[in-house]
C-alpha cells in the first residue's frame, strides 16, 4: 500500500506541482493518475521513489516513510517504467532488463537468466534479447521497459505514460498484456496516462488531477463515470461517458432466448453451430459478430445496433450459438449498471 499524507510539492522556481495531496493506493491494485498536461501526475509518481522530494507531508510505501530509506535502495525495490521506455541505448535488451538485479549484486549469470525469463513474460523472443534498443519497434521497446521494471520482482510498479508513444493497435495489445501480468503477479501499480479510455480500462481506481496539482476526485472507474464530482471531471471524461460505463460490464448476467425462426431475418449457422450471418427472406446477408459472456455491454450494444434485428448472437467458449439477447435486455442491464454506479458513489 502506498499512502500520501498532506503531500505538497513546490519547485524552486515557484511552481506548485502537487497541492496538499492525501491519497491511498491499495496493495495489489492499479491506481491510475489522469489529468491534463502539467497537472502534477509525473511529480506525484516520482515522489514515491524519491526521484522528487516532497516539500512537506509524508509518503509511506508498505507502511515505511520513504524519506527514512536510502534513496538508491528504495528505487531498486520499486519498478519504474519511464515515459517512452528510457532504455539504455548502449546495452543489449537483455542487459537492460538485468540492470537492477546486477545492481543488487545478483551476479551476471543469474541476472541474465532472470532477464531471459522476463523477456518471455512480456512476449519477446530470446533473439530480441541480443539486440540493441534502437533495433526494436516502439511497442517492443515499451515491453522491454516493463520487463526491466519487473526484473527485481518489486512489489510496487510505477508506470509513467508507458504506452504513450505507440500506435493504438499496439497500445491495446500492451494494455491486455499488462492486465494479464497484473492478474498473475498482482503488483501494486501506479499508472500515469492522459488517455481516459486507458484509465478506465486499467484502473482499479482513478485519481483525476487538475492543473496546480489538485486532486479532484479519486474513485473506481464506474463511480467516476456515473458520478463525476464536477464539470471539470465530466468534461475530462468526455461526451460518451454513459457508453464508457458499459465497457466495464460484461454480458454474463444478461438473459438470452432462442434465435428467431421464420421471421424477416434468420441467423444462419454452420455445421458446428457457429453463427455465420443474418439472412433476409429476399436473400440479403448481413455479417454477425457473435459475443461471449466475457464481452462488454458496450460491444453488445454496438452489435445490436449493427444487427438488422436488434438481436445479439451469443456463443460459448467454443463459438457455438447459445442464444440471442435483445436490445431491451441490454438496455435494462445498462440502466442497472448506471444506477448501481450511482448508488455506490
Amino acid at each position: 500500500m502506498i499512502q500520501f499524507d498532506a503531500v505538497h510539492k513546490r519547485f524552486p522556481n515557484g511552481t506548485t506541482a502537487v497541492h496538499d495531496l492525501t491519497l491511498r493506493m491499495p496493495e495489489g491494485g492499479v491506481t491510475v493518475l489522469v489529468g491534463s498536461s502539467g497537472c502534477g501526475k509525473t511529480t506525484t509518481l516520482r515522489m514515491i521513489n524519491r526521484m522528487v522530494e516532497p516539500t512537506s507531508g509524508t509518503i509511506r510505501v508498505g507502511g515505511k516513510d520513504v524519506t527514512r530509506q536510502d534513496a538508491a535502495e528504495l528505487r531498486r525495490s520499486i519498478g519504474y517504467v519511464i515515459q517512452q521506455a528510457g532504455l539504455f541505448p548502449h546495452r543489449t535488451v537483455l542487459d537492460n532488463i538485468a540492470t537492477v538485479p546486477l545492481l543488487l549484486g545478483h551476479g551476471r549469470r543469474r541476472a541474465r537468466a532472470k532477464a531471459a525469463e522476463l523477456l518471455e513474460t512480456v512476449g519477446l523472443t530470446a533473439e530480441a534479447g541480443k539486440r540493441y534498443p534502437h533495433q526494436l519497434s516502439g511497442g517492443q521497446q515499451q515491453r522491454v521497459g516493463v520487463a526491466r521494471a519487473l526484473a527485481a520482482d518489486p512489489p510496487v510498479l510505477l508506470m509513467d505514460e508507458p504506452f504513450g508513444a505507440v500506435d493504438p493497435v499496439v497500445r491495446t495489445q500492451l494494455q491486455d498484456e499488462l492486465l494479464r501480468l497484473q492478474k498473475e503477479l498482482s503488483k501494486t501499480i501506479v499508472f500515469v496516462t492522459h488517455d481516459v479510455d486507458e484509465a478506465v480500462r486499467l484502473g482499479d481506481q482513478i485519481a483525476i488531477f487538475r492543473t496546480g496539482g489538485h486532486l479532484v476526485q479519486c474513485a473506481s472507474p464506474a463511480e467516476l463515470l456515473a458520478r463525476p464530482a464536477d464539470d471539470f471531471v465530466a468534461d475530462f471524461l468526455g461526451a460518451e461517458r454513459g457508453l464508457k460505463l458499459l465497457s466495464l460490464k460484461t454480458l454474463a448476467g444478461v438473459p438470452q432466448g432462442p434465435a428467431p425462426e421464420g421471421e424477416a431475418w434468420t441467423l444462419v449457422l454452420d455445421a458446428a453451430d457457429k453463427p455465420l450471418h443474418w439472412a433476409s427472406k429476399d436473400g440479403a446477408e448481413i455479417p454477425v459478430r457473435p459475443l461471449k459472456d466475457g464481452d462488454s455491454l458496450l460491444a453488445a450494444l454496438d452489435e445490436s445496433i449493427a444487427s438488422p434485428t436488434g438481436l445479439v448472437a451469443r456463443v460459448d467458449a467454443a463459438g457455438r450459438l447459445t442464444g440471442v439477447t435483445s436490445r431491451d435486455d441490454i438496455h435494462r442491464h445498462a440502466g442497472q449498471a448506471h444506477s448501481e454506479a450511482r448508488v455506490a458513489a
Binding site: M51, R75, G86, H90, T99, V100, L103, Y132, R148
Partner: protein, 213 residues
C-alpha cells in the same frame, strides 16, 4: 622542387626512428590530455558556473605560442621529452575538454534519469552510463586532438626534440626540400593512420551504434 630519392633511401632508419619518436610524443600527450580532461570535464559538466571558467582557461592555454611554453618549462623539466609532452598536452586540452563536456551534455536526460530511477548511484551512473554514451563525442575529440598533436610535435624542434620536425629545420638550414617533404608526408601519413586506428577503436567500443537504421 625535386625530391632526392637517394637521400630518402639512405635515411630510412632515421626516418623510422623519427616517426616513432614523433608518434610517441603525440600519443603520450593525448593520453595525458584525456586523463586530465576527463575529471575536469565532469566538474565542468556538473558545476555550471565552473564550465565557462575551465573552458576559458583551456582556450587561453591554447593561444600561448609554443616557444613561450617551452621557455617557461625549461627551468622545470629541462631539455627533455617531458617538456615536449607537457607543451603538447596543454594544447590537447582545448579540444578534449570541450568535447568531453559536450559528450556528457549529449547524454539524454531520460537515460540518466532511468539509471537513477533503477537505483544506480551517481558514480556508477557516470562510469556505466554517461561515459559510454558520451564516447562518440569524446572520441571525436580524441581524434581531433591526436591529429592536432601529431601536426604540432614539430614545434618542439626548438628544444631539439620534435620528431619529424627535425627534418624541417634540417631542410630549412640547408635549403634542401627533400627532408621537409619527407617530414610533411610522414606527418600526414602518421595522422591518417592514427585517425583510422581510432575509428576502429571507436567501432569496437560502441557496438550499439553499428547497425543504425
Amino acid at each position: 622542387m625535386t625530391i632526392d630519392w637517394s637521400w630518402i633511401g639512405d635515411h630510412t632508419d632515421d626516418l623510422t626512428s623519427l616517426t616513432l619518436s614523433h608518434l610517441q610524443a603525440a600519443m603520450t600527450a593525448v593520453f595525458l590530455g584525456v586523463l586530465i580532461s576527463l575529471p575536469l570535464a565532469v566538474v565542468a559538466h556538473r558545476i555550471r558556473p565552473l564550465r565557462g571558467f575551465l573552458l576559458g582557461v583551456s582556450n587561453v592555454l591554447f593561444t600561448i605560442p609554443s616557444i613561450a611554453i617551452f621557455v617557461l618549462l625549461l627551468p622545470v623539466s629541462g631539455l627533455t621529452r617531458t617538456t615536449t609532452v607537457i607543451g603538447l598536452t596543454v594544447y590537447t586540452l582545448v579540444v578534449l575538454l570541450r568535447n568531453t563536456v559536450e559528450g556528457l551534455d549529449s547524454v539524454p536526460a531520460k537515460t540518466k534519469e532511468a539509471a537513477k530511477a533503477m537505483g544506480t548511484r551517481p558514480l556508477r551512473t557516470l562510469l556505466t552510463v554517461e561515459f559510454p554514451l558520451a564516447l562518440p563525442v569524446i572520441m571525436a575529440g580524441v581524434r581531433i586532438a591526436t591529429v592536432m598533436s601529431i601536426s604540432l610535435v614539430s614545434v618542439a624542434t626548438y628544444i631539439g626534440d620534435g620528431g619529424l620536425g627535425q627534418l624541417f629545420t634540417d631542410g630549412f638550414q640547408r635549403n634542401f626540400p627533400t627532408p621537409v617533404i619527407a617530414g610533411v608526408v610522414l606527418t600526414i601519413l602518421l595522422a591518417v593512420v592514427a585517425d583510422a586506428l581510432l575509428v576502429a577503436v571507436q567501432y569496437v567500443l560502441t557496438p550499439w551504434r553499428r547497425r543504425r537504421a
